[in-house]
């Protein structure tokens, strides 16, 4: 048995699947199953496809009858509802329309009117969710599953691999990692967390045998205006980018919970975010915008031979 790496691209990110097997060929059916699942979820929840569930929901905005969703989508919406409540309104899957105001490629700040115009169509409170019927009360409102469907997909792929008998392996969907299980000898995978400021460098190495590690950072999309860094993580209450934390990585039993928690911590900022994570009792590593590292796990680790994935 040896480990094999399978790289692919999905959900706009580089992805990797690491599995143990006798040969690459022997693992090919499992890899196909895994990538098919990621593709299925990407298609189903893509904002860019007319035939996606997301588009169907968004087309129904403002219509009184709303739209009836399938069980999987309903469970995802239920989850968003829980996360919204647990984050005091910061995790909000209606905040995607703020993108209309914020064009990070332009290098220009939006006007306050643009922000307010978009903000008028943001707010989970404006969604009537009566499972399985969903109604977006304002025309032009949108739901965006992009904030957590990748983490859900990582969980799904890991569960699928386990159901097919895999006991060792790791799923990496664009930096959201979910362990299928530790190395066959029980050693954890060593996960490198990308440094938010130094390209190609690792901020921390974390062991991962079970569960998942997901990260959020201000490095994915941002713009510098007059020396101020504006990142793509937008506060649904103010419509403006949040600041304070540069990067947060969280360990949780589910990648979905790890991802949501790291996003919420980013939204809560440098002071409240880490405190909120510590209150949850989840292990985490975070770096603030001054480059100061803090966390509840040892983030170093020099003698690590194995680095499964780098974020």
């Amino acid at each position: 048995m040896q480990s094999f790496s399978f790289a692919f691209r999905a959900m706009g990110s580089p992805c990797e699947l690491r599995l143990y097997g006798s040969s690459r060929e022997a693992l090919a059916p499992l890899v196909a199953l895994a990538t098919d699942e990621v593709t299925r979820l990407e298609r189903k929840y893509s904002r860019y496809r007319d035939d996606s569930v997301t588009s169907e929901i968004n087309r129904s905005a403002g219509k009184r009858c709303g739209v009836v969703v399938d069980a999987e989508t309903a469970a995802l919406i239920d989850y968003a509802d829980i996360a919204h409540r647990q984050s005091d309104g910061l995790f909000d899957i209606t905040s995607g329309v703020l993108r209309e105001a914020w064009d990070f490629k332009s290098g220009r700040l939006p006007s306050e009117i643009q922000v307010q115009r978009a903000l008028a169509r943001v707010g989970w409170g404006k969604v009537n969710w009566d499972r399985p019927r969903l109604q977006l009360s304002e025309p032009g409102m949108e739901l965006d599953f992009g904030g957590y469907v990748k983490e859900y997909a990582a969980d799904r792929v890991a569960a699928l691999c386990r159901a097919e008998g895999a006991r060792s392996g790791i799923v990496d969907l664009g930096g959201d990692l979910c362990a299928i299980g530790p190395h066959p000898d029980g050693r954890p995978w060593q996960v490198g967390v990308r440094h938010p400021r130094r390209n190609g460098e690792v901020m921390a190495r974390l062991p991962l045998a079970y569960g998942a590690i997901a990260s959020s950072g201000d490095y994915e999309r941002f713009m510098l205006v007059d020396g101020v860094r504006y990142a793509h993580i937008l506060d649904p209450l103010t419509g403006w980018p949040v600041s304070g934390l540069a990067c947060v990585s969280v360990w949780a039993p589910h990648c979905l919970v790890a991802g949501t928690s790291s996003t919420i911590a980013m939204l809560k900022g440098a002071k409240e975010g880490p405190r909120w994570l510590d209150n949850l009792g989840l292990a985490s590593v975070r770096m603030d915008s001054f480059g100061r590292l803090s966390g509840s796990v040892h983030a170093g680790g020099d003698s690590l031979e194995e680095s499964a994935c780098s974020i």
């Binding site: 989850y79 409540r85 569960a159 699928l160 039993p253 209150n279 949850l280 009792g281 509840s296």
Partner: protein, 405 residues
């Protein structure tokens, strides 16, 4: 890093939400069965009201049972998919019980109580285990119950299966019990048999359906067949001038249909529980029971649960308080449990959660429950010509403490 109560609740909510997604329930060790060692202790005091002196034969004491019960229960996870549990209970019982009923000259029933105060103790031991599947669980258990005059062995197997993204749960099970009865003092009381045996088998199946995020309904059918010695050796019955041993058919088939509805009212943090149970048997007894309970949370760590239950049953076909003419089938019983009556019970439960972080973190749950139960023929929906004077009313006080390590 110390997790706070609010934080743990938030994490629990998020994890439960994630586990509700299709395919994620069995994710890693996160959804392992009993993840933590559980230990539980309960104490209860059950105290029956004395029999009304007007209904008692003169010179007889009307004090009835008082039972103190101690229960201990623990469960431990064994690997990713198993957990095992042990339940032990010990109870002591003192007091007298209704023995037989005599007709007064005007036909009024007069209760005769068992002469001496009974002192009895009972020990129950139950060992059980569950195996968790990706979409359900299988459980099995076996127990023994020992009293001075009574030994019972029982066993059961049950299964649960989740369907439809866990919105639907099917369940079913089988059970058996073998009881061996050796009534005390059978040498002193000629009507008491020396030995009796009883076998019973039970079967249930049910379905639970999540209706929406706030409500769930469950309905189930249960059957039990009992064969053997079904009489009460400590009861006698007046039949046409003489006193005979309690005598019932040696087989009984019982069926019950139970429906439960739960609805959570998020704005007030309260949950309504409404249950209805219908039972019928081939001794031609039918029974209905309605229960309403309201689970109210305060400040995240206190719950108060007031509840109300109404119960009514018809009599079995061979029951009578006394018999002026013997029955042709030879079955006679004046047991109040086979008589027609209605009963109401009021219950209040207060429950609190707390956490002790010292040495090792422990989550505690403590509860105190008080119940008042009253049965009476006046509470029956039909007119009962002669009330059984042995109908019971009682107070029940329970204290429980549970620790999760």
């Amino acid at each position: 890093m110390a997790a706070t109560k609010r934080g743990r609740r938030a994490l629990h909510a998020l994890s439960a939400g994630a586990a509700a997604l299709p395919g994620l329930a069995g994710n890693g060790f996160a959804e392992a069965p009993a993840e933590r060692v559980r230990a539980e202790y309960g104490w209860s005091n059950y105290s029956e009201d004395s029999v009304d002196s007007d209904s008692l034969i003169s010179g007889s004491e009307g004090d009835r049972y008082e039972i103190d019960m101690h229960q201990f229960s623990a469960s431990v996870p064994l690997g990713d998919r198993f957990d095992a549990a042990l339940d032990v209970s010990y109870e002591t019982m003192t007091g007298a019980s209704p023995w037989f009923i005599l007709p007064a000259a005007d036909g009024t029933p007069v209760q005769v109580m068992s002469g001496a105060t009974i002192e009895e103790e009972r020990t129950d031991l139950l060992l059980s285990g569950s195996y968790y599947l990706d979409r359900g669980k299988l459980s099995a258990g076996s127990g023994i119950s020992v009293e001075k005059d009574y030994t019972a062995l029982n066993g059961n197997v049950a299964g649960e299966w989740h369907l439809n993204d866990k919105l639907t749960t099917l369940s079913g099970g089988l059970g058996f019990s073998f009881d061996d009865i050796e009534p005390t003092d059978s040498n002193l009381f000629l009507l008491r048999p020396e030995h009796g045996e009883k076998n019973s088998q039970s079967l249930f199946f049910g379905v639970a359906q999540v209706i929406d995020r706030f409500s769930v309904i469950q309905t189930s059918l249960a059957f039990q067949r009992s064969k053997g010695y079904l009489d009460d050796p400590y009861k006698q019955v007046f039949v046409a001038g003489s006193v005979l041993a309690d005598s019932r058919p040696d087989a009984r088939l019982q069926g019950a249909w139970l429906t439960r509805y739960r609805r959570h009212f998020a704005p007030v943090e309260g949950t309504l529980h409404a249950d209805y149970r219908f039972a019928v048997d081939d001794w031609s007894m039918t029974a209905h029971s309605f229960e309403l309970a309201w689970y109210q949370s305060f400040f995240d760590f206190v719950r108060v649960v007031p509840s109300f239950r109404y119960y009514t049953q018809s009599q079995t076909n061979f029951y009578a308080p006394y018999y002026l003419v013997p029955r042709s089938d030879g079955h006679h019983s004046n047991d109040y449990r086979l008589s027609p009556y209605g009963a109401i019970s009021w219950k209040v439960k207060a429950e609190t959660d707390f956490h002790t972080p010292w040495i090792r973190p422990i989550d505690w749950k403590a509860n105190l429950t008080w119940e008042r139960y009253r049965s009476d023929t006046d509470l029956a929906p039909v007119d009962v010509s002669i009330e059984n004077p042995g109908l019971v009313s009682f107070n029940l006080l329970t204290f429980g403490l549970k620790a999760l390590f």
